[in-house]
């Protein structure tokens, strides 16, 4: 089904996006209220929560341009050395900007 990108159609699209996103924000909590959290489930979720970020980042690192890769590398190294997210993120972005000037 295609929605025309005009007037109420646009509002319907944005509202749909909002409802789907809200369902993901509430869904995890709602489901957990029926499923008891065993040690195994906790371990699964803990491993999963870090893995989501890794899964999101892996293709960015592999398919990104050299600017993207150097940005991630800079952030990783800075984070390991300084253990502070703000300088790590800032230096990563600066590294990408510098790389892309060449």
């Amino acid at each position: 089904m295609n929605i025309e990108a005009a007037g109420t159609g646009i509002f319907a699209i944005v509202l749909t996006m909002a409802i789907v996103t809200l369902a993901t924000r509430w869904g995890g909590v709602y489901v957990m209220s029926f499923v008891p959290i065993s040690y195994r489930v906790k371990q699964f979720i803990q491993a999963m929560s870090g893995s989501v970020l890794v899964a999101l980042l892996a293709p960015i690192a592999v398919t990104g341009d050299s600017g993207a890769r150097i940005a991630l590398l800079t952030t990783a190294v800075t984070m390991l050395v300084l253990k502070k997210p703000l300088p790590a993120i800032a230096l990563g972005i600066v590294a990408a900007a510098i790389t892309r000037q060449f």
């Binding site: 295609n2 996006m17 996103t21 491993a47 893995s51």
Partner: protein
């Protein structure tokens, strides 16, 4: 700290305000990222009001950027829904990981707090819990900060975005990636996590290559979760 487990779910105004303030410095980047979105949305043909309303109601950067790819004179509703769901499925995990503390709250508070759940404030609150400190103030107060600055940033991007003509040359497209990476590395680091991350990354890349678009996030997450269950169980037996 003699903080019992039952006190960690505590949530009051000072804690929410403290969470807001703790996430405020990160919000500088949220403004920049929001501005990048506002600019990209304008270029994709969204009106300024649509863009700001989207940031206000959806409040999910990656999903909103992905939605711009699908924008045209006609928008495929089902594809849009699945894309937004796939990218935001990690919220399901956030809710699940937060449940041990959220369950002590009334349903209204529990779901109210989750309205503003996103990567940064979730990670900060989980970090607080793992150190034995109350984390729900960070989740809600921090979430309000992120949401507020995300909308402000979007608005700035829409109205003054012409100043940043090429956000990629300034590295601004890497804000999200660098942020998420700093969260990964800031977390628990040991051999078990390294194995889990490797499994997650490998599964994600395979899915990215061979499975439908955006499925790689859930595939990698589930693979990493399974790896964590297997590895953790082995540790228990010894």
């Amino acid at each position: 700290m003699a903080c019992a487990d039952t006190e960690l779910h505590h949530l009051d105004k000072p804690l929410i305000w403290s969470g807001f303030k703790q996430l405020a410095p990160i919000s500088i980047f949220v403004i920049v990222f929001g501005a990048a979105f506002g600019l990209a949305a304008t270029q994709a043909g969204l009106s300024s009001s649509t863009t700001v309303v989207m940031s206000t109601l959806v409040f999910a950067g990656a999903a909103q950027f992905a939605a711009l790819d699908l924008w045209g004179t006609h928008i495929p509703l089902f594809t849009m829904m699945m894309t937004v769901f796939a990218i935001n499925a990690r919220h399901l995990l956030m809710g699940a990981t937060l449940y041990p503390w959220l369950r002590h709250l009334s349903p209204a508070k529990r779901y109210g707090v989750m309205l503003v759940a996103s990567d940064a404030n979730w990670a900060m609150s989980m970090q607080a819990f793992s150190r034995g400190k109350p984390g729900l103030g960070l989740l809600f107060g921090g979430g309000l900060a992120l949401w507020f600055f995300w909308v402000v940033g979007t608005w700035l991007g829409v109205y003054f975005g012409s100043a940043v003509s090429n956000p990629e040359s300034l590295g601004l497209d890497m804000v999200m990636g660098c942020f998420l990476l700093s969260m990964v590395i800031g977390g628990e680091k040991n051999l078990r996590m390294l194995i889990i991350w490797t499994v997650a990354a490998t599964a994600s890349l395979l899915a990215f290559r061979y499975l439908p678009a955006n499925s790689h996030i859930m595939v990698g997450a589930v693979a990493g979760g399974v790896a964590g269950t297997v590895w953790g169980a082995q540790n228990d037996e010894h």
